[in-house]
């Protein structure tokens, strides 16, 4: 092990440290606004993990992650909206009355049941991704075309949601009047409880993704990222591997969408905005798409910078972000995590006795894909 970066135990220690730090936040502060904001960053973290999984490990540059994120968010928004409607006395959300609907549309009726609503919020985007993904990957659409197709699909869905005013309240979005009720308890979005829910979701998503990338399945996806043709010749069904990794990333994004709506009690077509979806790719690109934690930290860094520096200098901030992103793409294709990999590798090579450095080279090359 020349490079500490590729040491699995070291990687797990870093993950554990980060989650320990995140767990300490509610102990340090009980400012409810700050907790809510940090929980929102957790949502961005989940999105970054989902992008890293599909783009970094599966080689699928997905510019339309807002599809799953938005569908999940709308599912959650509808569930929360229906929680505050009474099935007998007041069955229809107010905005539908404004759009002259006199009965609850069939699209909405499953969301009267909270459990079913949750399941649908996660299942609909995932099934959509399975369907759309298998459509693309079976046709061997690859590289930039996937980016364009996902972008087109995202834009299509965005316009559809805008257009279906009576069902989605169009550009105004859905603002459930009350916080989410779970098992009889109301979850205040500004409470510690909601922070822990998002924390748990992020922890689960990260550990599961990390385990997936270290499994045999993850190894195959990394192989097909580098050379799909060769993997195909080895007898693997490339399309189904790609579909699965794409759908998994969609599932994570849908979960992130649910969490976001729980935190902000609002959902609008902005969740399917093209710039936001590409923003996710920028987080992962700057942080390091080949590293789950790198992408996540990229999301924290950029979103944090945006909220703390950006309020005063929004225009300058976006200018710097764009310039920095260009530099990263040009000089650091592996992002900031790649910089760490490089420097740890150099330290490792320095510590190594000179005669042993030669046979270690090959080992380093083979383990490179595991980051």
């Amino acid at each position: 092990m020349t490079n500490l970066y590729h040491n699995r135990s070291a990687q797990w220690i870093v993950y554990a440290l980060m989650f320990a730090f995140l767990a300490a936040i509610p102990l340090i502060t009980n400012d409810s606004f700050l907790l809510n904001q940090f929980a929102t960053y957790g949502v961005y973290g989940m999105l970054a993990v989902s992008i890293s999984l599909s783009w970094g490990f599966g080689g699928i540059l997905n510019l339309g992650q807002g599809i799953a994120f938005g569908l999940g968010a709308y599912g959650m928004g509808m569930t929360m909206q229906m929680q505050s409607q009474d099935p007998v006395s007041n069955p229809i959300p107010p905005f539908m009355l404004n759009n002259s609907l006199d009965h609850l549309p069939a699209l909405w009726s499953p969301f009267q049941n909270t459990a079913l609503g949750f399941i649908l919020s996660l299942a609909v985007p995932t099934i959509f991704y399975v369907f759309f993904g298998s459509l693309m990957f079976r046709a061997r659409v690859s590289g930039p075309f996937i980016a364009i197709m996902t972008l087109a699909m995202l834009t299509a869905l965005y316009t559809l949601i805008l257009d279906m005013q009576p069902y989605t309240n169009g550009a105004n979005g859905i603002a459930p009047p009350a916080p989410l009720k779970l098992l009889g308890a109301e979850i205040d979005p500004y409470s510690v409880a909601s922070y822990w829910i998002v924390y748990g979701a992020l922890l689960f998503v990260t550990v599961a993704s990390k385990l997936i990338t270290q499994s045999k399945f993850g190894l195959v996806t990394q192989a097909l990222r580098s050379d799909p043709e060769r993997v195909r010749f080895l007898g693997y069904n490339v399309a189904s591997y790609e579909t699965i990794v794409y759908a998994l990333s969609g599932l994570i994004a849908a979960l992130a969408g649910c969490c976001l709506v729980m935190l902000v009690q609002y959902v609008s077509p902005a969740q399917l905005d093209v710039n936001f979806s590409i923003g996710m790719v920028i987080w992962a690109g700057i942080g390091g798409r080949f590293s789950l934690i790198g992408s996540m930290l990229g999301a924290f860094l950029i979103q944090g910078g945006q909220s703390y520096l950006g309020d005063q200098f929004l225009a300058t901030w976006l200018l710097l972000l764009g310039g920095f992103f260009i530099l990263v793409v040009r000089f650091l294709p592996k992002g900031l995590a790649g910089l760490l990999e490089l420097s740890l590798g150099m330290i490792g090579a320095h510590m190594q006795p000179k005669d042993a450095s030669r046979p270690q080279r090959g080992a380093e090359a083979t383990s490179k894909a595991e980051a």
Partner: protein, 326 residues
């Protein structure tokens, strides 16, 4: 410009360029009550042609850059925006007539494209996905630079006197401006096709497209061909910008409204000039006719869905080039 239109634009800034196109389209009206059955359809078809010419002019530069170099230029929309701002600045600060602003926008934006190609794009030719990302970064930077320079408020390019009237064309009444845009689109496409298929430079571009190494061994400077092609594509985006700017309003974010549609035209067309012409014609007509049957937004949804399905069956577009891309 009435304030209501402004608000409408601000509400849906990115994906609703149709709302901005109203300045011309609003003038398309029923000329004759005589044949009430054919007129709306004829109207929709002519409107479709008009939309197609706008999509085509927005996509032409992109098609050249993508078709010849294989670069997915996400900053294309911002090139369009720069063209619009160039025309606006030249017209309002230096009093240049609009017709001269068009070639000026070509030169300015082509020069910016040249700088971009030399400074960034040429290092990324071997990494197509990274060019996509880097040019997205470029688009962010350009948008912000323009916003810092000109502010976020909308600007207007004055319509020249001669384009302000309307013309009766069979059943429909069209503004001269839209006819001018349509005609100029045809001229530009013809000129580009001439350049690529009838000149020495065009032959060099096609040779490099087919096989870069082989072309280089015959003494063609592939680097220079890429550079000039990129600058040409950028310049065409500048022309598109000055035309779209006069049809609608000029905003720092106006580019994103066109870039997705331009991409769809290019991808459906397979990256060739003829393919783009056919693709923009088809998509423009589809959009217009579907909008006549349903409504504008739902029509766009259906159109995007159709394109995704089409790409499933023809991933390389309607007219795939004979040779595989690098």
């Amino acid at each position: 410009m009435p304030p209501s239109r402004l608000l409408k634009h601000k509400g849906r800034p990115r994906h609703a360029p149709d709302a901005q196109w109203r300045r011309g389209i609003g003038d398309v009206a029923l000329g004759n009550s005589l044949s009430a059955d054919i007129a709306p359809i004829a109207n929709a078809l002519i409107l479709g042609l008009s939309i197609a010419s706008i999509w085509l002019i927005a996509a032409l530069g992109l098609a050249i850059i993508y078709g010849a170099i294989g670069v997915i230029n996400m900053a294309h929309g911002e090139f369009i925006m720069l063209g619009a701002y160039t025309s606006y600045a030249l017209q309002s600060f230096f009093g240049l007539p609009f017709l001269l602003c068009i070639p000026a926008a070509f030169i300015v934006v082509a020069f910016i494209g040249l700088l971009l190609e030399r400074g960034l794009i040429r290092y990324l030719y071997k990494r197509p996905l990274d060019t996509l990302l880097a040019t997205w970064g470029v688009s962010l930077v350009l948008t912000q630079l323009v916003r810092l320079t000109f502010g976020s408020d909308p600007k207007y390019i004055a319509v020249p006197e001669m384009f302000q009237s309307n013309v009766q064309l069979g059943f429909v009444n069209l503004s001269v401006l839209r006819i001018f845009v349509f005609a100029l689109t045809i001229v530009l496409v013809a000129a580009t096709a001439f350049l690529f298929y009838r000149t020495r430079f065009g032959m060099q571009v096609r040779a490099v497209m087919q096989n870069k190494e082989m072309a280089a061994s015959f003494g063609i400077n592939a680097d220079r061909v890429y550079m000039l092609t990129f600058a040409l594509g950028a310049g065409l985006a500048g022309v598109a910008g000055s035309l779209l700017g006069v049809l609608a309003i000029v905003l720092p974010t106006m580019g994103t409204a066109y870039v997705v549609q331009a991409f769809l035209v290019v991808v459906v067309g397979g990256g060739t000039i003829l393919g783009s012409v056919v693709a923009s014609g088809l998509t423009g007509e589809f959009q217009s006719v579907l909008a006549y049957v349903t409504n504008e937004t739902f029509a766009r949804f259906l159109l995007y869905l159709l394109i995704v399905v089409l790409l499933r069956f023809r991933p390389a577009g309607l007219f795939a080039p004979a040779k595989a891309r690098r």
